[in-house]
């Protein structure tokens, strides 16, 4: 008997006993739903925690400062940098050429004077006056490769790569204006005046003249790429920095001769972060990376994942036992049918195959339904949680569709059902062929 014939026969047999099949599938679906919703929740929690730790950037991200490494550079995730050291294109290329380095992105932080709009939209519900200039910094990043940087979009979007007229503002900027995260969207579309300062000296007299540009706020972000309230394109930061650097040193700000303020390096996986940091230190630059913290967090989260997966698996196992029980009962009822199958030539393996396929069909169907149900449950919970988070002015949760996880739940349910169906299938296969002709 081919697998295809066995599937057709099993499908018909399951369909004939609709009520029982529905109940059995439902029990598997509930078990699978419990497992998948717990796994989605734990996966989401893991992602959130790791996002928080890595500030939304890749877990294997390393920040390279424009400074020499200190003696204990590798003993800490965030060591104190040594003396200032210029980062130029040569250094960037050298670091990019190191083994196990996946990408290197330059960061340019530059001082900036910001003038927020004199009148903010009413929907922003700003609580602070905003008519004074803010003396802050803009952080220029490669906006074409933001996924490799510790930048998370909270509202709106990021500026277009190369744009001189679009910026994203940070949560700190919102706080300066007295705007909550929940109202941050109201700021999107408003204009800000940004001035790159430059000090002109005439004898002892110092005059500051800023190079002013206007920019539209297109998004709100959380970022750790550099210290500053504004995320801008590298081109914009470079123009502003060139203006500032051409002048005399600004009071209170160390002159920064470096071409780049910092680099953000991504290693080929968390396992290689220590090695890459050591090599960058060898090139002559101080590094920082939350590798120890991430490893510890991953360890703790893994324990939580195991516990939740265990709870879900218990549910699924109970459902699988239900399959076993239902099939044993079915075999008692179908002795005559088994006998007829054998009378018309079915070998033991054919009968075993039919019953295994039946069990697998129930498990697969239940797993599929359960995975969908689990996703629905997780999304419902996420909606409840998001309402709470929004009410507390916290950033909300985004649940994707974890296809691999859901597929593994379906596969798991099918495999468990097959395991549960093995004993009944063996028992059915061993039943005497005589059942076809007599109940003696």
């Amino acid at each position: 008997m081919t697998w295809r014939d066995a599937i057709v026969l099993a499908r018909r047999s399951v369909g004939r006993r609709g009520g029982r099949a529905v109940l059995t599938v439902l029990s598997v679906a509930l078990g699978a739903a419990l497992l998948s919703s717990l796994l989605i929740a734990s996966d989401s929690a893991k992602q959130r925690v790791l996002d928080q730790v890595s500030e939304g950037g890749p877990l294997s991200g390393i920040k390279v400062d424009a400074a020499a490494p200190s003696a204990s550079a590798l003993d800490s995730d965030n060591p104190r940098p040594g003396a200032a050291r210029r980062i130029d294109d040569t250094a960037l290329r050298r670091i990019a050429g190191l083994a196990q380095v996946s990408s290197v992105l330059p960061i340019i932080a530059t001082p900036i004077i910001a003038l927020p709009p004199t009148t903010l939209p009413a929907a922003a519900h700003a609580t602070s006056k905003n008519d004074r200039p803010l003396f802050e910094a803009a952080v220029g990043i490669d906006l074409a490769h933001v996924s490799q940087l510790p930048v998370t979009v909270i509202a709106g979007r990021l500026p277009q790569p190369g744009s001189q007229t679009e910026i994203a503002v940070t949560v700190d900027f919102l706080q300066r204006l007295g705007v909550t995260n929940a109202n941050s969207k109201a700021l999107i579309g408003t204009d800000v005046m940004l001035g790159a300062p430059r000090v002109f000296k005439n004898g002892n007299e110092r005059r500051n003249r800023a190079r002013w540009t206007k920019a539209e706020i297109v998004g709100v972000v959380s970022q750790e790429a550099g210290n500053g309230l504004f995320v801008v394109s590298l081109d914009m930061a470079r123009s502003d920095r060139a203006w500032t650097a051409a002048g005399a040193p600004i009071d209170g700000i160390d002159p920064d001769p470096s071409e780049y303020s910092a680099l953000f390096v991504v290693a080929h996986g968390l396992d290689h972060v220590t090695q890459v940091r050591a090599e960058i230190n060898g090139v002559g630059y101080s590094t920082s990376a939350p590798e120890s913290l991430i490893t510890q967090v991953q360890r703790y989260v893994h324990v939580v994942e195991l516990v939740l997966a265990g709870i879900g698996s218990i549910g699924l196992t109970i459902a699988a036992l239900g399959i076993s029980n239902a099939m044993l009962a079915a075999i008692r009822e179908r002795r005559r049918e088994i006998g007829v199958l054998k009378a018309v030539g079915a070998a033991d393996r054919d009968v075993r195959r039919v019953f295994l396929v039946e069990a697998g069909t129930l498990g697969f169907t239940g797993g599929l339904l359960g995975a969908g149900l689990g996703l629905l449950v997780a999304r419902t919970l996420a909606a409840v949680v998001n309402r709470y988070l929004a009410s507390q002015d916290l950033q909300t949760v985004h649940l994707g569709v974890p296809v691999a996880l859901l597929a593994s739940v379906v596969v798991g349910a099918t495999v468990l059902a097959l395991a549960a169906g093995t004993l009944p299938a063996i028992r059915a296969a061993r039943m005497p062929a005589r059942q076809a002709i007599s109940d003696e």
Binding site: L9, E337, V340, K342, V344, G345, D348
Partner: protein
Amino acid sequence: MASPADVAADPNERAGVAVHATGLRFRYDTPEGELVVLDSIDFDVDAGSVVAITGASGSGKTTLLSVLGGLDRPHGGSVLIAGHDLAQLDRDEMARYRREVVGFVFQDFGLLGQLTALENVELALTFERVSRRQRRARARELLGAVGLGDRLGHRPRALSGGEKQRVAIARALANEPRLVLADEPTGNLDPVATAVVLDMLLRVPVDHGSTVLIVTHDDAIAARADRRMHLIGGRIASA
């Protein structure tokens, strides 16, 4: 009368087979002790003949059919059919024997309720790894031959008793069996259906060359067989 040499002649030939049983014993183990159902019986059946097996309830006639069909293994003696000694076959060989040599017709039809008439007939070829197209063609042909060409898609519950038994006969013939075993084939049928089904069974040796053994209580049916084998208490009283 068949000789042992005849029954072992050519297991691949698609014609009726002779049956040669010697010292055939069968028993059931019951809580009260051993219950002998077939008590060292000897008999021969000629290839292509129709034999009626009669006897009172409990005389062992259904068990004899079960043993000859490879549904049960004899506990003693030998049964030679188509080159096989049924007492020596293991489970897989026994399944193969049933699949290739035997066709069954049951009193209560033995149709699977979840399958259509066409699929029930196809089922007999499913285990032979015959292609789906060939199976379907063969099943259509056989159902046409028993007058059910317009009932192919009907489930058993939508058929009358006589129609169900005609589907069962078509299924029994699907694998071109050399031995057709019928257990009270008209036991659940009205007189009209009985006549139709009996005519069909009696034509099997003529149309297909198979040997036919019919277990029956009905003397009228037994009278139409080539030969009658009467069992009393697990022994052949007359043959």
